[in-house]
Each structure stands twice: as C-alpha cells, then as structure tokens.
Symmetry: C2
Subunit: 330 residues, 2 copies
C-alpha cells in the first residue's frame, strides 16, 4: 500500500526494521490482551511428514488470527493524544478485525475501509469487533483513496497490515513464544503474504537461534515473494488468483529487505496441495485453519527430504473460514 | 453390555468404583502415551454464556477422543501373560480406535467387533490403528455374541467401554489434569453416554475439590441417564435417536452407582441446540468437535442463570466427524 505521506496529517511509521528488543517490548505490551497459543503435535502427521512437526496455533489467537498481535502492539504503542484520534486501515480480512478489537480494548475508534468483495465472514468479524466500516470499490487505488480520506477527516493513525515496524514486532512475538515452547527447533516455516509475520519471526529466530532454518511458504499461484527474492527485486504488480485470501498481497520494501537478509528459501504449493493439507490439518489436529495456514504443511510435504528427521515449527496463522461451504466441497 | 461371565475364560473387571489413588495410578501409567490436552478460552463465548468457560480439549487426545485414556490404562494394567492373549471389545466408535491404538503401543492384538452400520470415519480409524475387525449385525445381542466368541477363541481380555474400573480410572485423569490446569473451578460439565467419563471425573473432582458442582449433559432425545437418576432406577431398555453417536449408550450398574452418589444434576439439550452449539465451538474456538461434545455447551447455554459468573470447566470429548457433510448441512 502506498498512501501518499503528504495526504495524511499524522506521523508515518519509519522503515527501520525492529530488533529483538522491540519484539520483547511488543511481547510485554500485548501480554495483557493476547492469548499464549498452544503448540499441537500429531503422531500421524509426523509420520507422514517424515519429521517432528510442532504446530503453533495462531488460529486460536484473538479474532482467530496472528494479526491481533501486530495490531495490538501498534495500537497500544501510540501516545494518548495521538491514540485518542483513532486508528485506520484498509483490509478485506483478519487485520481489519484485529485492529477493531485492539482499538476497542484501548477505548479508541477504529476506521476500517473494506472492499465490497470482502468475504462475508470477515466483513462480519470487523463489524462485530466494533469498527466503523467504510465500504469502497474492490481496487487497491479505491482502498488507498478511501483510507487517506478517513485519515484526513479524523486525524486517525494509519496501522498498515505489515509495512510497519510496530506491526512486524508484534508478529515477531509468535516466534518468541514458539521458541520458548519448543526448544531446539531446526527450522521454522510460516506463510508469506505481505511478509510481516515472517519478517518478525525471522528477526526473532535469528537472534535467539542463529542456526535455525527459516522458510517461507507461498501458493504457487501467488509466488510474488518467491520470485522477488529469486530476482532480487520487489515484484508488486501481480494480481494473484489463489484460494489463500490472506496471501494475495505482495511484499513492501521493509519486509522485502528483512526477508532478503534472513530467509533460507520459500517453498511453493499448488492449490490442490493446499486444500489437501488443510483437510489433513482438520482431520488429524481437529482444528480449523484457513487455506493460508495450510500452505505451510503443503510446502513441507513437498520437501520431505529437506526436513527429514528435523524438529520443524509451523505457524498456523488463522482459522477464519466460511463454515457453510468448505474448500473441498467447492 | 452384559457378556455372560461364564462364557469368557478371563477375569472380568469387578464392580468396585476406583478411588483417587487408582486415578493417580492411571495418570502415571498413561503419561508416556497420552497427550496432556490444552484448555482453551474464548472471550466471546464467555460473554454469551455469562460465565467463565474453560474448555478441556480431549478432541486433541490421541485417536481424537478421551477414550484413549481409559483404553490405555486398561491395556497397560494387564499382567504380561494375560496381555499377550490380546484385548477385545465391541464398538461403533472412538473406544474401538482407542483400544486398537493402546494395544498396538503395547504390541498385543486387539479384536474389535464393529456393527455394519458404524460410521465410515470411525470404522476407518479402528482399522488404521491396527485392530482385527470382526463385523456383525447392528444389534446389541449380535455385538455381545460376537465379542464373546472372539474371547472364547483367543483368550483375549474384554475391555468394556465404560463398565470397567480401570477404564473409569483412565477417564478420571481428564479431571485430574483439568483441575491442575484451572484452579478454583466452581463447576464441571461433561457429556453422559455410558457414564464412564463423568464417573471418573466425579470421583476425582469430589476428592480434590469437594464443593465443586458436578453436572452431566445429555441430549433430550437420549435422556436415559437423566431419567435413571430422577427415578432412582437404571433405565437400559431405550433405543435413543440422537445425532450424538457417542451418547446413545446407557449407564451400567457401576456408573449408575457412582453418578447417583456424586452428581448434582444433568442438563438436557435439543438436537437443534446441540448443532447450534457445535457450530459456535467451531466458529469461535476454531476447533473440530463432535456433536457429543457440543451437548455440554448447549446445556450450559440453556442454564445460564445457574452458572452465572462461575468458573466452569467443560469437557469436549472428541473430534471425529465426517468432514464431507457437516451437521448443519444435513
């Protein structure tokens, strides 16, 4: 997203990557509000993957997604006078609901610009958590124009879904928790949409366990991050078509820079493999995860040799799906 | 179930209720094999229930149900020479899969008599865990005859799904764990089918926290335990018709006696309320539970006044459902 800084009256987040200290601050800041999510195991999935898989269940996080961590950190880091004017973002998904809840917990307004084609289940969640919803046409230009207008009118602070050091630091607390829960992980795999989660986790994991393998997972149908790292330039002009509605975004300069520095690689998976992995997670772990979460297991199952015998942490990012029609029923 | 003792060559379990010591022994015996399951919370479900609800997630137990605890305790308590001849049961559900896995872990045969009308997902699980399956007609008489024949031929030990002190002691470890995880619970609610889970939990909870409220939950369409306690006599001649396939059994003398002593009451819920509660659990907790688990939340929501403001523990018993057709899609 590129809101013109001249069009907004409040300070923009800087492009400096957060360090481990900022991630520790985030952990302390969100502790009164966020859940410590459990790590689940499955003997049958271990057998199928050929390694020891530790599933970090952020689908159990508040609002049903890791996004609450970053939004909560950004909202509670604001000085009182700035916070009083509220926060704003545009989102068709979990970040909107996360920002709405974080703002409600702080007692300040949240304005969320939602495109008219957003999934009903996510639109409803944004409304349920008390955000003021501004509807807009389903184009990035319309979304950015609408959020710039909201900010100009209200003085609200923009909380970007991923191109924001406070948001990245908040997401990094996932790895901080996971590494505390599972000592001696050999590798960590997380999905990549805009790259906020994996950036925060990479900074954390490299600082605590420098030798750990750090892997992204992306739908083959939305492999802009994979290609960006391969080509050494940020690709941000594609319109991906994937079931993984949380992974349709592209990297921002800050997440591109962090991931270039830290990542060992990105595994890809087909749409069919993602649906099969999602069903396996539902069946064997007895949990509800989104397609965007299942891409991690799908990528792991494609690269069994690489991770053979290792202790691998997988971040399951969210569980907000339409329960009327399941992915394998379409 | 009433296998004629004269027809079997191995010792029958006695009718003596286990005490807290036996439940502690069970906890130690199953610890190398069973999962310590997490307790989940949801702010939105607390709000809806008007109390603080702590969900004990036995759907995350091995084979996807608490049944593994009892089966594992019974299998590993057998002396080597008796164990070597194997174990047997009849089951259309989770107990069969649990006994199969427990036997495989001990390296002994398991014979499971499965009626031809068993759900495919449960039949498959029994087979996947390595049991020798004996099919029979879907009547209790046919099931009992088939298991008696297996026992006569093999010398296997019968492990009854609930009318067995070792099984009851194993199920009691659910409460032992939950009370350790959540101090100061005011009440505990668990579903009642044959009453093994609630019997074990009642013995444990009364010993550790004597003032705790102990409640069963039962489908109104299968309220034989409710009526048995109300009338002071064991009703075991009904053929209930409920979506809750785990709760179609009736009490045995041992569970009837334990529940009469310890229970404060049994809450009922309609089939419609159970499906609605199941969907709420899927949506808000992001977990997969069977209808037989959801009856606890359904009963709680019906009796909001009784539990208002309390800390309530709910046992979610299992997560083995057919993912092709969900309960609310029928």
């Amino acid at each position: 997203m590129n809101v013109d800084p001249k069009s907004v009256a409040v300070p923009m987040a800087t492009d400096a990557a957060p360090g481990l200290a900022a991630i520790g601050d985030a952990a302390a800041r969100i502790a009164p509000f966020a859940h410590v999510t459990p790590v689940l195991r499955s003997a049958s999935l271990d057998e199928r993957a050929g390694c020891e898989v530790h599933f970090k269940c952020e689908n159990f996080q508040r609002v049903g997604a890791f996004k609450f961590r970053g939004a909560c950190n950004a909202v509670f880091a604001l000085p009182d006078d700035i916070a009083a004017r509220g926060v704003a973002t545009h989102s068709s998904g979990n970040h909107g609901a996360a920002l709405a809840l974080a703002a409600r917990l702080r007692g300040i307004p949240a304005h969320v610009v939602v495109p008219t084609n957003a999934a009903k289940v996510k639109h409803d969640a944004i409304a349920r958590h008390g955000a003021k919803i501004v509807e807009c046409a389903p184009s990035m230009a319309a979304r950015e124009a609408a959020v710039a207008q909201v900010i100009a009118h209200t003085g609200a602070t923009l909380v970007h879904p991923f191109a924001d050091p406070l948001v990245i630091a908040g997401q990094g607390t996932v790895a901080l928790e996971l590494l505390r829960q599972c000592a001696g992980l050999d590798a960590l795999i997380a999905p990549i949409g805009g790259g906020g989660l994996l950036s925060g986790c990479a900074i954390t994991a490299r600082a605590i366990a420098p030798a750990i393998g750090l892997w992204g997972a992306e739908p083959a149908a939305a492999c802009d991050a994979h290609d960006s790292l391969a080509q050494g330039r940020l690709i941000d002009d594609r319109v991906p078509d994937t079931l993984c509605d949380g992974l349709r975004g592209h990297l921002a300069p800050i997440t591109f820079a962090i991931l270039r520095t830290h990542l060992d690689g990105i595994g890809l998976a087909s749409e069919q493999e993602i649906v099969a992995a999602m069903r396996l997670l539902w069946e064997r772990l007895k949990i509800i995860v989104e397609p965007s979460s299942a891409v991690t297991l799908a990528a792991l199952l494609r690269e069994r040799e690489r991770f053979a015998g290792q202790r691998v942490g997988l971040v399951l990012t969210g569980g907000n799906v339409d329960l009327d029609t399941l992915a394998w029923q379409r």
